[in-house]
Symmetry: C2
């Protein structure tokens, strides 16, 4: 079978990986700039409960299903590519600066509990015992031992080495893709190609750098109502993310975006002020009207689609790739895609 994957971001490349795993070897990935999608501005937090909102049960189930697949997916990608993905399992801290912020964390803690995910409330002092450089003003929070982490840049770098053909073409019409099987994974730019209501949701992200890590774990924080995540890497880099802005195709790094990230980061972790501002980035996440991805076969066509992963592309990559590769190779999948069909918006 010959497969054409339109879009070479994390989702498209993860699908290529699962097709290779199933013995499909004739794969072409169409992307003018592969491995440069929304994954570049992702932090790589694998936290199915912390990211879920109320009333999104089907999405929550899909996240949990993907979370379970992550360790095996990471091991298989590392085995096939020979590259490390920075997969880490030490859990995440939820941190609140003020009393009002604590209420937001309490809401999340309740959600972990209802989802049956492990969560351990901590006082400010207990948080500082685990992460001594957190601000003395930090009011409280929680430890989520089940939340994991991967480095999206390493994941993209590894997937970029897969033995597939990369074609630097921008596909404007699916009928022009000359393969038995066509898969659309174009992220935020999928609307024109598929007619699906996908819109770009801008995210800005900072990379700070210091001589050594300020944190041992990922911190998901709320400071004066502003949400931020702080992702330490072993080499002293600290990823600070990410804004969520409805601005169309705009990829500009703005003063306001940088301020919205630096302010809560420095409030929660004052040592941030000393770090070098190494890089500022903006990317476009693919948003849908119900915040859930679109997974399945486009009506009337031979094309499969896997788009609209919004903030959850890294987390959802394994289950998405498995389901789409199942559909491509045997026409059905054990993954429950009922809530994610391409016709649900019509």
């Amino acid at each position: 079978m010959s497969a054409g994957i339109v879009g070479g971001g994390i989702i498209g490349l993860a699908i290529a990986f699962e097709l290779l795993e199933r013995g499909v070897t004739d794969i072409t990935v169409y992307d003018p700039d592969p491995a440069r999608g929304a994954g570049l501005v992702a932090a790589g937090m694998l936290a199915p409960t912390a990211e879920a909102n109320f009333g999104e049960e089907a999405l929550q189930e899909l996240m949990t299903a993907s979370m379970r697949r992550w360790p095996g997916f990471a091991a298989r990608v590392e085995a096939r590519t020979g590259q490390a993905l920075g997969y880490r399992t030490e859990g995440t801290l939820l941190v609140a600066l003020t009393g009002d912020d604590q209420a937001e964390i309490d809401r999340l803690v309740g959600y972990y509990r209802r989802a049956g995910a492990p969560i351990e409330p901590l006082t400010g002092r207990e948080l500082r015992e685990r992460e001594p450089l957190l601000s003395p003003r930090v009011r409280g929070g929680a430890f989520a031992p089940g939340d994991h982490q991967v480095d999206p840049r390493l994941l993209l770098r590894a997937l970029r080495t897969l033995p597939v053909r990369f074609a630097a073409e921008k596909i404007e019409d699916l009928a022009a893709v000359p393969h038995e099987l066509t898969i659309v994974a174009t992220g935020a730019s999928a609307a024109g190609l598929t007619g699906l209501p996908v819109r770009p949701v801008k995210g800005q992200l900072l990379r700070l750098r210091g001589p050594e890590p300020l944190l041992t774990r990922v911190v998901r924080g709320v400071a004066n109502g502003r949400h931020v995540y702080l992702v330490p890497r072993a080499d002293g880099e600290l990823v600070v993310g990410a804004t969520e802005e409805e601005r169309g195709e705009d990829r500009t790094v703005t003063a306001g975006g940088v301020l919205d990230l630096l302010r809560p980061a420095a409030d929660l972790l004052p040592g941030v002020a000393e770090l070098a501002l190494a890089e500022t980035l903006a990317g476009l996440r693919p948003g849908t009207p119900d915040n859930a991805p679109v997974l399945g076969r486009l009506p009337g066509g031979r094309a499969l689609v896997a788009i609209g992963h919004h903030r959850n592309g890294v987390l959802l990559a394994p289950v998405t790739a498995e389901a789409i590769a199942d559909l491509a190779t045997r026409g059905s999948t054990g993954v429950n895609l009922d809530a994610f069909g391409p016709t649900r918006f019509t």
Copy 2:
């Protein structure tokens, strides 16, 4: 006469200009990276009163003397180089966000008055009538019609075209400079060469960019105790400066520096948040124990020195260049340098 100028920043190049004006044509400027000194992180505000602190009367007089020279200096540089310097004379606004910030502005207003410089207190409403995009929270301020502005990048670009020899050498020993006349203008790195107590004072500065200017005039603001200046350029660029940090030879752009600039900028001018963060810069100003420059002849040597201009290098360039060129060509100057001699620290 053959002249060697060690240091190709604004001060060294302004001296080269005045030597050329006096008919000295054999000039070599030694700098591994000319036109890349502290001037690059200067905003180019020519505000002799606003920058002066209490108890620095001699420095204040030198500033006023240089301010008087600026229009003629700019005209002569533009005539000789054929390049515009962005010299503007529309005055500066002083702006306070809170009541406490207003007290700081009142202190500055009193200082303008005692210095005999024109200053007109304004209410928040009057400020917004002049600059409608200032925050509705702005409490009050003043208009300083005598404060002017130049674009330091254009000044450096113009001076860089002067018909002098540029030698990309780092001078380690003044005895090795093979000229009848040696002039040291090495800014923050002068200590090793001269034995003078010059230290680097780090400054960080941002360049933001939008479709059109948010301001018509330079704003010197105080917001929650944080000082900032906002310098609009005609092309939509807004320069936001500048931090003042004692960190040795460190030229790192830090998260804390960027935050210290963006926070008061966005507090005073909310539209800042929408601007693109086009560039972040850090440079080293040459500081001295008394915040005043060192101007004159090094003891026992044939070298003249013009260093230690701290935050005031752009403002003080004309009077510095005139005095040093006077000393070089006729052994004396009408500029009163009594307070600025190289021996005052011994």
